[in-house]
């Protein structure tokens, strides 16, 4: 269970997150849409403290952190129950595909090497990259790198997976394979919070869609409502723009 209350972040005087409240049930797949610069990515990044919020309380599973008095150990605990997929993949450049997936399992979760390796190979097989286990990121296509990135997050066994515009940096030819893999992850009822501009994908995969603007969640509902019968005028305007 994920529970966020009053999450607030400002850069200087400009508020980026304006007191966000959000609950996500186990296994729920939530997609965030909205114009650029409205705090979608910042919301994700505040949940694992890559950006530090000024206020708010975040609960993910057994871990509750109050942003106003977060200690190092709290932040680590929060990060250890989340996994993140980055727009620019963020694969460790000095490690092979297999080692990228093993790294968190051995170094952070302290699992035995053999077990971690077995798990990494299994995940690579699921992502269709079994033959790339020993390739370094520089030798992989964008789509392959992002699939390893998703595999790395999958392998964690995390309470919540955060996807920060996972297809935005990809050449169009690789978008399909990455979305396919995300569908496969979604089918396992993995709790997911996804920021994306892929509206068709959001419609397909989401249990709930959040529309953000100006650091607030303006409208929230099932895809049928958000895309079929949007209530808020700003959402209607946004959909007109992106769907033409």
């Amino acid at each position: 269970m994920i529970r966020v209350r009053g999450l607030t972040k400002h850069f200087g005087a400009a508020p980026v997150l304006d007191g966000i409240d959000l609950d996500i049930a186990d296994g729920e797949r939530v997609v965030i849409i909205g114009p650029s610069g409205t705090g979608k990515s910042t919301l994700l990044r505040c949940l694992n403290f890559l950006d530090v919020p000024q206020a708010g309380v975040i609960t993910i599973g057994d871990v509750t952190v109050d942003a106003a008095k977060a200690r190092k150990a709290d932040i680590l605990a929060l990060r250890r129950c989340t996994g993140m997929v980055f727009q620019n993949y963020g694969l460790f450049a000095n490690k092979t595909a297999k080692e990228n997936i093993m790294e968190a399992l051995t170094t952070v979760q302290k699992r035995p090497r053999a077990e971690a390796e077995q798990r990494a190979l299994a995940v690579l097989a699921e992502t269709g990259l079994a033959d790339k286990a020993d390739s370094y990121p520089s030798a992989l296509s964008g789509g392959q790198q992002q699939r390893v990135g998703i595999g790395r997050a999958m392998a964690l066994g995390a309470e919540l997976l955060l996807f920060d515009e996972p297809t935005s940096a990809l050449d169009p030819e690789w978008v399909g394979e990455v979305l396919d893999l995300m569908r496969a992850v979604a089918e396992r009822r993995q709790t997911m919070l996804i920021v994306t501009h892929e509206m068709q994908f959001a419609r397909e995969i989401a249990d709930r869609v959040l529309f953000m603007e100006g650091g607030k969640i303006v409208e929230s509902g099932p895809p049928s409502q958000i895309f079929g019968a949007p209530q808020d005028a700003r959402l209607r305007k946004f959909l007109q723009r992106v769907e033409g």
Partner: protein, 224 residues
């Protein structure tokens, strides 16, 4: 102008070569220690620990801003007057200490620049999986920084090998000291020091071959 006494030079080569292990020992020990200290200083400069940072800046400034020879004299002849417990220190130890401190200051700056140059996405990915600062530095950031810093660090190692010749001024009989003693007997100063120069040159050339291999190794993750 007189002709070079080649026979004398050839005879001197094995004598001077006998001191190569000592030179390599001082440079090797100095390099390992300077790398460790330099990396620690660099990590501190990036993390900017309050108060400590001020001392580190001062340390780097001093050891970069003063000649190695002056530093060696300070440690070997100067410090024991102030700290009598250091009277036991021998020339080799003092030389290694001086080389370590001197070159760690230079290395710290190269390593710091290389650390800062590691792409932001690498730091964020490491943080996102819940690594501690130490794990992130040791497993992700420093290995990537090493690749960038390697050519500069090898240059410092070469400098350090040549810097060991200053140990001669602390009464250590190393290659330079041995040549000096030989020449004092034969008066063939040019020949003696030419042999020393050539041996240093060969050592550095061999090392440069190693540098190419090291760089290939460090680049293996980055070639397509």
């Amino acid at each position: 102008m007189r002709a070079l006494d080649l026979d004398y030079m050839l005879g001197l080569v094995p004598v001077i070569l006998g001191y190569v292990p000592l030179t390599l020992f001082m440079a090797g020990a100095g390099m390992v220690l300077a790398l460790i200290l330099g990396a620690l200083l660099a990590v501190e400069r990036v993390a900017k620990v309050p108060v400590l940072d001020w001392f580190v800046v001062l340390f780097i400034s001093f050891f970069r801003g003063t000649p190695l020879l002056v530093q060696l004299f300070l440690f070997y002849f100067g410090l024991p007057q102030i700290l009598p417990s250091l009277t036991q220190i021998d020339g080799v130890t003092a030389a290694i200490m001086g080389l370590t401190l001197h070159f760690s200051a230079y290395m710290a700056e190269s390593i710091r620049a290389a650390i800062v140059g590691v792409d932001r996405s690498q730091w964020e990915a490491a943080q996102s999986i819940g690594m501690t600062q130490g794990q992130m530095m040791w497993r992700i950031i420093l290995p990537q920084a090493a690749r960038v810093a390697a050519p500069t660090l090898v240059n410092y190692f070469i400098d350090m090998i040549k810097g060991t010749s200053l140990a001669f001024t602390l009464g250590v009989t190393e290659m330079m000291g041995a040549a000096q003693k030989e020449a004092a007997g034969s008066f063939l100063y040019f020949e003696a020091f030419l042999v020393v120069a050539i041996i240093y040159w060969v050592i550095v050339e061999i090392l440069s071959q190693g540098q190419k291999r090291l760089e290939t190794h460090l680049n293996k993750a980055f070639v397509r």
